[in-house]
């Protein structure tokens, strides 16, 4: 019966499937369908992310269990596991959850390159060195939904140019939704952050930029983007094209 499922039938089952709540014969049919149907794959992924809400647990990971895992993976001397470092500190939690999304980004790279599991250090080095726009977009989207994320709109004085940014409490930030005009080949956009009384370069963005990650070393009060000569400048040489204040939370 399950083999006769139509696309609509399968779609109706995707929620239950994501919760492991369909029968085995239906699992087989849906698994086969997902191979060829990105839209349904995406829906299952979204359902699973939603379901993680139901999994939040106040319990710490059991320390004794780590010892068993460490023994199982063949290490005689397990790495010290310090439960004391699990501090229920809000800023830290935010950072940890952000990085979960960043992990997805890393594996996007692995998937794109289609690697088999061959455990070679040089393979991994290659992976680590490559940046990937899809991964950045995912990381930026994840940052935007953090509870402590501050959203900043950078605008030109006339309001015609707009760039949106997200800044997390630890200084990690992303420029998203950039709609700046493409610059000439001898120019580049450069991002600046105001920290205290200082204006610090947060990165040279290129002439036609997409989502970009940046990291500020201290509490940012403003962001601004200028056009500079290719290679960037140590200090802004012109008025900002767009700028925005970061409201404290």
């Amino acid at each position: 019966m399950a083999s006769e499922l139509t696309h609509a039938d399968i779609q109706e089952l995707l929620g239950a499937y994501a919760l492991d709540a369909v029968d085995a014969d239906e699992v087989a049919v849906i698994d086969a369908h997902l191979v060829d149907c990105p839209r349904c794959r995406n829906e299952v992924a979204e359902h699973r992310e939603a379901a993680t809400l139901l999994s939040f647990s106040g319990a710490a990971a059991p320390e004794a269990l780590w010892s068993r895992i460490a023994a199982d993976i063949g290490e005689a001397d397990p790495a010290p596991f310090e439960l004391a470092r699990v501090v229920p500190h809000r800023a830290r939690r935010v950072q940890l959850r952000l990085t979960a999304a960043a992990a997805a980004a890393a594996v996007v790279i692995i998937g794109l390159l289609g690697f088999q599991v061959v455990r070679q250090n040089d393979r991994i080095d290659q992976l680590a060195a490559i940046t990937d726009q899809r991964g950045l977009d995912q990381a930026a989207a994840a940052a935007a939904v953090q509870p402590d994320a501050r959203r900043v709109r950078l605008q030109s004085d006339d309001g015609a140019q707009v760039v949106d940014a997200v800044v997390l409490p630890d200084g990690q930030g992303y420029l998203v939704q950039t709609r700046l005009p493409t610059l000439g080949s001898d120019q580049t956009y450069q991002l600046w952050g105001v920290i205290g009384a200082q204006t610090i370069s947060l990165g040279v963005l290129g002439g036609d930029q997409a989502t970009t990650a940046f990291k500020a070393a201290g509490p940012l009060t403003s962001l601004a983007i200028t056009a500079e000569r290719v290679g960037g400048a140590v200090a802004p040489t012109s008025d900002p094209i767009v700028k925005g204040r970061i409201e404290s939370t």
Partner: protein
């Protein structure tokens, strides 16, 4: 070489796990092991079995980190899905007995979602509370019976004496609502008003 992984991204951890860095796996366990264990224990309701499930999931991450599919969400979501599948396999074996017990139990009590006890911290609890509160009770009930109690949608239909098609729809609609509520709760305000 001693590395402090506590500030590393999950991305960096996965790369390091690919290089056989056990301390990176330890950090991944420290971050996500509690949630994975909590879910496994909730589903199988036995500490020893839950521990087996968690052990399998992290050993699998160690041996085949590339099985973590980038297009299917975060590392945490992947670990939880792995654990959930394994936990379900263990409880399904005696599901007909559980079904009868549950039917008996439901005549006297209804289960609630006690987020205060389960949430990571207050910030998360607030968000989960908001999302779950917006969920119509029939959708929430169907999702909890399927995901946390491990019943198939057909079994849920039997339990609730409701058509199977209705249960399928409730689960799917409820998950969609949770996701969109979650996004709204966090990014609902337009940028220029924040």
């Amino acid at each position: 070489m001693k590395t402090d992984w506590s500030q590393a991204s999950d991305a960096a951890l996965v790369v390091a796990i690919g290089r056989w860095r056990e301390d990176a796996l330890a950090e991944a366990y420290r971050r996500h092991g509690g949630a994975v264990y909590g879910l496994a224990r909730r589903v199988v309701r036995e500490t020893g079995v839950a521990e087996e499930v968690v052990q399998e999931v992290f050993v699998r991450l160690w041996s085949t980190p590339d099985r973590f599919d980038p297009d299917r969400g975060s590392l945490r979501s992947w670990l939880l899905a792995q654990a959930h599948g394994r936990a379900i396999d263990r409880v399904r074996a005696d599901s007909s007995r559980r079904l009868r017990e549950e039917q008996d139990a439901r005549r006297t009590a209804t289960s609630g979602y006690d987020v205060e006890l389960e949430a990571w911290d207050l910030a998360v609890a607030d968000r989960v509370n908001e999302v779950m509160a917006d969920l119509p009770a029939p959708e929430r009930e169907a999702i909890e019976l399927a995901y946390l109690d491990g019943y198939t949608y057909r079994e849920v239909a039997t339990l609730l004496d409701t058509p199977e098609g209705t249960i399928k729809s409730r689960i799917r609609a409820g998950l969609r609502r949770m996701r969109s509520d979650l996004i709204d709760a966090k990014t609902g305000r337009p940028w220029h008003q924040s």
